[in-house]
């Protein structure tokens, strides 16, 4: 099992990692930007308590 996992990890090419990592990074930042930083007042009001609790600058 361990050998199989290692083989699998080695098989990953750099471009595979860049595409998957880049995509996940963009998706993550879009979520954080929307919840924590979007200026639309409806989004702000809905996520208001989350912004304060997570220490995002709010108001």
């Amino acid at each position: 099992m361990t050998t199989a996992t290692q083989t699998q990890t080695i098989n990953l090419t750099l471009s595979q990692r860049l595409v998957a990592g880049g995509l996940a990074l963009i998706l993550g930042f879009v979520l954080l930007g929307g919840i924590g930083f979007a200026s639309d007042m409806r989004v702000h009001n809905g996520a208001h308590d989350t912004r304060h609790a997570l220490g995002f600058p709010c108001h």
Partner: protein
């Protein structure tokens, strides 16, 4: 299951579970402080000793909440809690995706064993370092310009994150030295400071809030790191055994 699908599902599941745990702690210890602070919002700040010029002491909160009154907002109670939990979980999934993405990009796998270190790193990068300059604040507290604070927040997160990843990746004194500079830089530059106005929110609420908010954040990060590592390893193993079966 390709790499993106694997880290996506691991991050969504880990973020969901850890986000719900964080939400529970928030509703227990953090949200009540926000609601209590809002009762002071828009009120006159407690008068200063000499009762100088009443007009000079601008109520801190009055211009703090320049909300568009017509904009939709959830009703207090169940609806507000529901939206907060939803926003918590989405932000949690966002954090988990960033953690998983960075791990793949830098080439440092998250595992169940080292997940707690990733969690600690995430907590330092996204909560502790920004809070060192901009402590989690309650509604109604005087604060500097929003755009400037958001810029400082992102700058601090990126600098601290780059520093920790560099140290973890290279493990040499050059990386530690560069990391120390990157970690200190945002704090030497300094976060945008609030105007010198009396706060309408009592001090005990503000200190309790800062400590509770950071604690709820720590709960999230210490769950999401190990859980993401566990799921990531498990999905990779499942994938490996599937591949073997196909090739057999």
């Amino acid at each position: 299951m390709n790499l993106f699908r694997r880290i996506f599902f691991a991050a969504v599941l880990a973020g969901l579970a850890a986000g719900l745990a964080m939400s529970a702690v928030q509703q227990w210890r953090v949200a009540p402080l926000i609601l209590e602070a809002e009762t002071y919002e828009g009120q006159e700040a407690p008068a200063v000793h000499d009762h100088a010029d009443a007009t000079a002491a601008t109520p801190a909160a009055a211009h703090e909440h320049e909300h568009d009154e017509d904009a939709w907002a959830p009703q207090d109670g169940a609806e507000r809690i529901l939206y907060t939990v939803l926003a918590d979980v989405l932000a949690a999934i966002g954090f988990a995706l960033v953690l998983a993405a960075v791990s793949v990009l830098v080439g440092l796998p998250v595992t169940a064993a080292n997940g707690i270190v990733w969690g600690l790193g995430g907590f330092i990068v996204f909560q502790l370092a920004p809070a060192f300059g901009l402590p989690p604040e309650l509604p109604g507290m005087p604060a500097a310009d929003l755009g400037a604070r958001q810029l400082w927040w992102w700058g601090t997160v990126i600098a601290t994150g780059a520093a920790l990843l560099g140290i973890a990746k290279f493990r040499n004194w050059q990386a530690i030295a560069a990391g120390a500079v990157l970690i200190l830089l945002p704090h030497v530059i300094g976060a945008p400071q609030p105007p010198h106005e009396p706060s309408a929110v009592p001090a005990h609420l503000a200190t309790a809030f800062a400590a509770s908010a950071l604690s709820a954040g720590a709960v999230f990060w210490f769950i999401v790191g190990p859980l993401l590592g566990y799921l990531n390893t498990r999905f990779a193993k499942a994938e490996a055994s599937q591949t073997r079966m196909v090739h057999a």
